[in-house]
Symmetry: C2
Subunit: 352 residues, 2 copies
Amino acid sequence: MELNIALLAGDGIGPEVIDQAVKVCDAVAKKYEHKINWTSALTGAAAIDAVGEPYPDETHEICMNADAVLFGAIGHPRFDNDPSAKVRPEQGLLKMRQKLGLFANVRPTFTFPSLIDKSPLKRERIEGTDLVFLRELTSGIYFGKRGREDNGNTAYDTCSYTREEVKRLAKKGFEMAMSRSKKLCCVDKANVLESSRLWRETVQAMEKDYPEVEVSYEFVDAVAMRLVQWPNSYDVLITENLFGDILTDEASVISGSMGLMPSASLGEKTALFEPIHGSYPQAAGKDIANPLATVLSAAMMFETAFGLNAEAQAIRNVVDKSLNEGVVTEDLAGEQKAYKTSEVGDWLVQNI
Amino acid sequence: MELNIALLAGDGIGPEVIDQAVKVCDAVAKKYEHKINWTSALTGAAAIDAVGEPYPDETHEICMNADAVLFGAIGHPRFDNDPSAKVRPEQGLLKMRQKLGLFANVRPTFTFPSLIDKSPLKRERIEGTDLVFLRELTSGIYFGKRGREDNGNTAYDTCSYTREEVKRLAKKGFEMAMSRSKKLCCVDKANVLESSRLWRETVQAMEKDYPEVEVSYEFVDAVAMRLVQWPNSYDVLITENLFGDILTDEASVISGSMGLMPSASLGEKTALFEPIHGSYPQAAGKDIANPLATVLSAAMMFETAFGLNAEAQAIRNVVDKSLNEGVVTEDLAGEQKAYKTSEVGDWLVQNI
Ligand SMILES: CC(C)[C@H](C(=O)O)[C@@H](O)C(=O)O
Ligand SMILES: CC(C)[C@H](C(=O)O)[C@@H](O)C(=O)O
């Protein structure tokens, strides 16, 4: 099979972790006799520096012509404490999500037996946790009307959802629940927000089409609690954009394996795969960042974008093996020897 | 001193835990020679049943004429899965906050040495945690314009803030930071939301008036993570209404002492004190609920509303004593004997 993949390395540690994922993908492709055509493109602060724009049209072109997008990270501290900066890397991220139509952000949180003790939670709380969030990614308060009034002294943002937007996200949620343990939790704030009431009534109306799925409805504040108390009581969760931003980040640290968590963002026409750890600027260029989240994102890509399950499993197996044999970067090494980012990549390639 | 206190027991376990707090307050008042005039009023589902309204005008009258309000909890499961119910207990809560002008919700999270092992977090993560959130409580998306368009197929909510609203909340935050360790964290989503940019620029402009306070700015998603990872790295945090709803609930479970966490809601004219645990309907009427959060809320009331610090400390001391001697309800008893709600209250009174 011929695989056309757009490669957006982005900022911070993005380029180093992407390099390892590319090596691993090429090794898998060789083993299973595929041909990958990689096309690199600029994004984030790197793109602002080069062409004054965090998501240039040329990059969009490349993504639209690819079968899938593999993405590193964007964001740079020099923009962080300057809320008035005219061009910001995050705008590129939001523009990319919207222009590519990536409406469903899939973020799993699971545990690796060998890493349970890295979790801030006690073993008995976190053991067996295997949940996945579907976060709506192209609507809500991120993309509603916003502005200032009264000489800049009043600021507003609008959270708006249409029934169709809720439906297409919820449909993915029901389907994912069917392929897992048939439990779906709809997270909202229907006791206060009108948009949440639309979410709840839309999901309620879909229940009859999936009679086997057991659906629960929980308020976002209650979920923020239970994620810390009993994370393993959840399976598939669906939610709107801003709640998803907060809760998926909260969920990402409970496993203690944040450096390993992959994600996918799905649209009608294309899909994008990225590690959730962000650009981690303090580590950029040092060859110390953990590449495994990006490598596991590539596994999700083989499975979700190309339907190549054996290839995905081959990647997951070699990642498990590296963890079991302690071939890991400093964040996971503890008292043991810490490998460099590129050394972990090389080891994975040799063991595919 | 003569203390005029409005008493809103509310729903679920509200009445039982309020009863214990009243007994304790009366005992403290006797010891320190104060006279408390209690005036009870209806609120929540109880008020809907009695007069068709969750926050009746008469209740408001009573609150406005009191020096402080002691509140139990509101909410009833019969309203929970009916987003379209016309009258809901929560509306009473929101109306009460707005009409009483309770713009600053103060929610501490701290640990009790004897309860550290109840935390879902590992001991070394949670030990020493002593933080306090100031959540803006009368504006933002809770009170902005909301509605439906397009035949009910589009729903929207508006988050709006004025500079003055941010200032008065931030002022309380800076003052609280000055009385503690002089560290203040402003939690926002300034990389996306215009209202957050107003928050950030307003707080930045206030920094010069509090040169001793070290201010940091963090995104809400990052705080949702760090609260689980390193809760003891925070001290005073200020944030807007919805972020505060989510994060204070998340923070409340990390200590493992949710049943003990008090809160205060401060306004220009009056202040309200309540346990954060909610109405806990499953336990209502069983005399098993933990009354300590309500008793500690009464301690906050003595201190904050009346400036009676010795009285507040006397309450805190007797609560500590009950914990150390194992005079606790079933949620904390473990293998030991569990006391009834009313028995804990009686014991506190005898030991004041
Ligand atoms: C950088 C920021 C705009 C972004 C978001 O809020 O969506 C990030 O937090 C994420 O979750 O991908
Ligand atoms: C009941 C609900 C409206 C309320 C809120 O969201 O403010 C509650 O969660 C709280 O935090 O007091």
